[in-house]
């Protein structure tokens, strides 16, 4: 039993790694389906918190996501199983390409480029879908919807400094803390606690 979960983590992330085109963001749909819905390893709102941690750390988002999910389930060993599983498909494939092929055979391959003309717009859809599911998990209301909309548009604007995701992560954490201390704690003190 105890071994089974590591194996499942490894296989699940290998599947995720093999079908993630377009970087870490495109993984979210697949991870959500596998980890939250299929295996029910992590509830949806907690998954959102894990994404926040993964995004706040430097490095490759896809690796960071596997680390936080693996760690949440089975600590260090879990995160190793998830990260190695996630990396293995692309590592193997790229190594095979580097050893046996020249870049041109892939780049100018007519069949591959036709396939990818179909995949690329689908990947965008795979990133739009978790926007809506995470918005529900975050309990976004008509009032708070201004935060994600504002963040998305400012990052999209590409303006210097304010288009950096790190700015909004820091702001979000600080503002969240201030709000929590000033509004949430005073309101709960008289009641439940």
């Amino acid at each position: 039993m105890s071994c089974k979960i590591y194996w499942q983590l490894f296989i699940t992330f290998m599947k995720i790694g093999a079908f993630t085109f377009g970087g870490g963001w495109a993984m979210i749909s697949i991870i959500e389906r596998e980890v939250v819905e299929r295996h029910k390893w992590i509830p949806r709102d907690e998954f959102l918190d894990l994404l926040a941690v993964a995004q706040s750390m430097p490095g490759i988002l896809a690796v960071n996501i596997s680390v936080v999910v693996g760690d949440r389930l089975r600590g260090l060993k879990g995160s190793i199983a998830a990260a190695v599983g996630g990396i293995l498909p692309s590592f193997t494939l790229i190594l095979l390409i580097a050893v046996f092929l020249t870049p041109d055979t892939i780049k100018n391959n007519e069949i591959i480029s036709r396939i990818f003309k179909g995949i690329r717009p689908a990947v965008v859809a795979l990133i739009v879908a978790p926007v809506l599911t995470t918005a529900r998990a975050a309990g976004i209301t008509w009032k708070t919807v201004l935060i994600p909309v504002g963040v998305a548009l400012l990052i999209y604007s590409g303006l210097p400094v304010i288009s950096s995701p790190l700015v909004f992560i820091s702001l979000g954490a600080v503002c969240g803390y201030v709000y929590y201390v000033r509004r949430v704690i005073p309101n709960t003190k008289g009641g439940a606690k």
């Binding site: 079908f19 993630t20 970087g23 490095g59 490759i60 960071n64 692309s90 179909g118 689908a122 965008v124």
Partner: protein
């Protein structure tokens, strides 16, 4: 200095200072790799193109590829890939432990309260940034087909609850048949 040490140093920097994932790291990777003369600018563009056509994050794909090309050995691939993965791996693991230890503290509870809507915005920004000509094509008829594929994929994943992997495969087949 041996080529291995140079590669390790370059990819340590890329791993530790690359925030925002994938394409945000590209310029950093390019400046390290091209300036060191491991790849020409043309070869770098090629590896970016290959990364787009193979699964996995570009940070890892470029590390694996450049590790092999620069050293001529599979060990080079392995060493460089581990170099770009390990430091963020440890940092993220540390952060994850720190947070679960202090889960009940006001700082962590409050911070996540503020972070949740921000993360939704970050995912949305990633989607917006990818809605470009590179992904949807340059010609009008290609753009129309791309929009149809994108909307259909969205309906399939979000409403029909199809598995995203099935959607990716179907979109690839559609692209092959249409173009």
């Amino acid at each position: 200095m041996s080529i291995y040490l140079k590669l390790i140093w370059a990819y340590l920097k890329i791993g530790l200072f690359g925030f925002g994932g994938g394409y945000a790291m590209l310029s950093l990777i390019q400046s390290e790799v091209v300036n060191n003369g491991w790849l020409s600018r043309q070869m770098f563009t090629d590896i970016v193109a290959i990364s787009q056509m193979t699964p996995g994050p570009i940070g890892i794909n470029s590390a694996t590829y450049i590790g092999y090309v620069a050293t001529g050995s599979v060990w080079g691939s392995l060493v460089v890939t581990l170099t770009v993965v390990l430091p963020p791996f440890m940092l993220t693991l540390w952060a994850s432990h720190f947070i679960s230890r202090h889960q009940q503290s006001a700082i962590i509870k409050g911070a996540f309260m503020g972070l949740r809507p921000v993360v939704v915005g970050l995912i949305a920004s990633a989607a917006l940034l990818l809605m470009n000509r590179e992904n949807f094509g340059y010609a009008t008829d290609e753009q129309i087909i791309s929009i149809v594929i994108c909307v259909t994929s969205f309906v399939a994943v979000y409403f029909a609850k199809l598995h995203p992997i099935i959607v990716i495969v179907a979109a690839g087949v559609a692209g092959f048949l249409i173009y």
